[in-house]
Amino acid sequence: MNYFPDEVIEHIFDYVLSHRDRNALSLVCKSWYRIERCTRQRVFIGNCYSITPERLIQRFPGLKSLTLKGKPHFADFSLVPYGWGGFVSPWIEALAKSRVGLEELRLKRMVVSDESLELLSRSFTHFKSLVLVSCEGFTTDGLAAIAANCRFLRELDLQENEVEDHKGQWLSCFPDSCTSLVSLNFACLKGEVSLGALERLVARSPNLKSLKLNRSVPLDALQRIMMRAPQLADLGIGSFAHDPESEAYIKLKNTILKCKSITSLSGFLEAAPHCLEAIYPICSNLTSLNMSYAAGIQGSDLIKLIRHCVKLQRLWIMDCIGDKGLSVVAMTCKDLQELRVFPSVHLGNPAAVTEEGLVAISKGCPKLHSLLYFCHQMTNAGLIEVAKNCPNFIRFRLCILDATKPDPDTMQPLDEGFGAIVQSCRRLRRLSLSGQLTDQVFLYIGMYAEKLEMLSIAFAGESDKGMVYVLNGCKKLRKLEIRDCPFGNMALLTDVGKYETMRSLWMSSCEVTVGACKLLAKKMPRLNVEIFNENEQEDCSLEDGQKVEKMYLYRTLAGKRKDAPEYVWTL
């Protein structure tokens, strides 16, 4: 089979980087499997319970970068009770025991302890990069260990984690010899950091390209930091509120003029509108802008800012920008590829964007491929037009705040609108639905969404047929998450083999019963079928006819997990 020596094949494999392609290589023949596994450096595990760490290490001894995801996606919305799982410690322990020279660890929705961080920091001399997204369970003490012990640390990126702040000086734990930082993001931390230590750290990090500060860093410190790091490309501003006539503010304005390399701006965790004009001079360089945390900024100020941002490719914003503001975006940001509009309803503002804003965007920004849009209402006509204007959607996530709202103009469900989206956007990989929807929309999805990998459904559908259309039609489906839909046992059991081709299925508040789940678990031993039983009654036993409130199933080679809490019943 092989006409080339191993070294040649290895060299060729060096050019093959994507996980999927490498997985494909490993399936060609035994020889390629062997070569591939020995040369593989980056591994992505979408569900930490799908395989044991030991098995992973055995297969890929050359592992340098590991990405792990833990809890199901709906954990983000409090649908997964506390203590469900997703613990990283067995992984770090197994890796520490092995000879793997881990350099990079990226975790999402996992539980991370300080002990694990400490172990991580001491076990891998060449450890370079730690990225934690939506994780919990650790404190600033764990961060201190990372700072103190990882001598060649390049990246410490903390995104939206729940971190207990012990008011220690974790940032001061970076030794003077640490000069390798490229990326530092501590925006999610609630506590104060030593500003002096921060400034000195920035001063001795000539390669620092990305810096995201937390709320405790005031404007004058920001100015000093920016002075020391004119090479910054990606800046997250902490506090941005100051008297516009103060010396600090004027200094900042001048400093900003020197920061021509900044192409990405975020944060504004505390911002006063009048300070925004300090940014105008660099707006024309920005390709990415995230104002979605800036609660104090009104739509009019956002609009003024955006008028300067002609090169924007990614925009995350709050819905106070309004439909009119989105028209301005459409006129200004011709290169826009990704847009996220977050709701400010919980701030007491009425929901502020509708189909108008989205249609305007679709007309002005044909390159748009990723959308997350929280809106007050949507119409079929609007969606049809969006589908026509933007056929390139890869991710289309629409959230109508009133979850079962029909088209307000016609009082019809939104089946036709979403149908148009899936029919037009042949490259669609991720879709989230909302609004009043019948089984029809699922028929469309099954028919047209050939590349769909992830589908999120809530309060939709009329019968089992809806779910069956999706399971039968979407060949590439990997993740399906459903809540509050009338899908039941017939749909669940219609094609049990399908679930081994998928990563996971979540169903909550649907019509599925315990009996059906048991049957499924019996038929498919390589699935873990978990039921969450949050009933407090001690003597409760699961009767077959009982409705299941929450079910999460996933394919696995690791068998039933041993760390499940009491309320999780693996059938």
């Binding site: 409090s78 939506s134 977050f342 701030l347 997350l372 469900p413 019509e511 409705k547």
Partner: protein
């Protein structure tokens, strides 16, 4: 491009089950709130008909200020068979909602809806609270001018004195002033001798609504006190403002 990105939206889990009339769950079981958005059911039981949930109005607008317009719009959209596009295979006949008709239709607050990460929701509402505490943040008040086609908003905390404010207002409304007096009239309000001329004439006079809802003439109290108590500004025609300035009129009379 990092494999992980913080892409998912956040969570809004303001659950207040005392207020919620709607039980999302199995009928016959009542929901107990354990405080963290965890929903447990007292008793499981009869099959839940989707028709019941479909007919129930999920008014999932969670705005605390009563956005009655949107609430009523969704109120009228309760699902009925005719509004479901049917292919004649299923007709769902929704029975009336299983709620006490005497209770008003509550704004149902559903776990995990809208799907916004709690991290995001908490961060942003902390900021808003801080802004509202007054210490920092802006103090935007509406400014109307009689005869102008639209209102403006001004952050009065940006200014340090009445003079600065009046300059800013003059600039803002310079395009709207009618007649020869124009912005000059506004600028002169601090000058008491001119005040009477203003009040008698067709000039404009700045007034404000204070915390108690009373309309006052701008300029009487120290600046800081004004910023604290001012809720709204209105630039009135002088002829209408006569009743607001009895003290000034007194002073003037006493002088002359």
């Amino acid at each position: 491009m990092p494999v992980l990105d913080a892409e998912q939206p956040d969570n809004n889990d303001m659950i207040n089950f005392e207020e919620t009339e709607l039980r999302l769950g199995l009928p016959g079981g009542s929901a107990i709130d354990h405080g963290h958005g965890e929903l447990t059911l007292k008793g499981t039981g009869a099959k839940r008909g989707f028709s019941e949930t479909a007919s129930v109005d999920l008014k999932l607008n969670l705005s605390s200020t009563n956005d009655s317009a949107s609430a009523s719009a969704s109120a009228s959209a309760s699902v009925s068979p005719s509004s479901l596009s049917s292919d004649n295979t299923t007709t769902v006949a929704p029975p009336p909602p299983a709620t006490d008709p005497a209770k008003p239709p509550a704004k149902a607050q559903v776990v995990g809806w809208p799907p916004v990460r709690s991290f995001r929701k908490n961060i942003v509402s902390v900021q808003k609270n801080n802004n509202e505490e007054g210490g920092g943040g802006a103090a935007f008040v509406k400014v109307s001018m009689d005869g102008a086609p639209y209102l403006r908003k001004v952050d009065i905390k940006l200014y340090k004195s009445y003079q600065e404010l009046s300059d800013a207002l003059a600039k803002m409304f310079s395009s709207f002033t009618i007649g020869k007096c124009g912005s000059q009239g506004v600028k002169d309000f601090m000058n008491e001798t001119k005040l009477i001329d203003l009040l008698n004439g067709s000039d404009y006079v700045p007034t404000y609504e204070d915390k108690d809802g009373d309309w006052m003439l701008v300029g009487d109290v120290p600046w800081e006190m004004f910023v604290e108590s001012c809720k709204r500004l209105r630039i009135m025609k002088g002829s209408e403002a006569i009743g607001l300035a009895p003290r000034a009129v007194e002073k003037y009379k006493n002088r002359s």
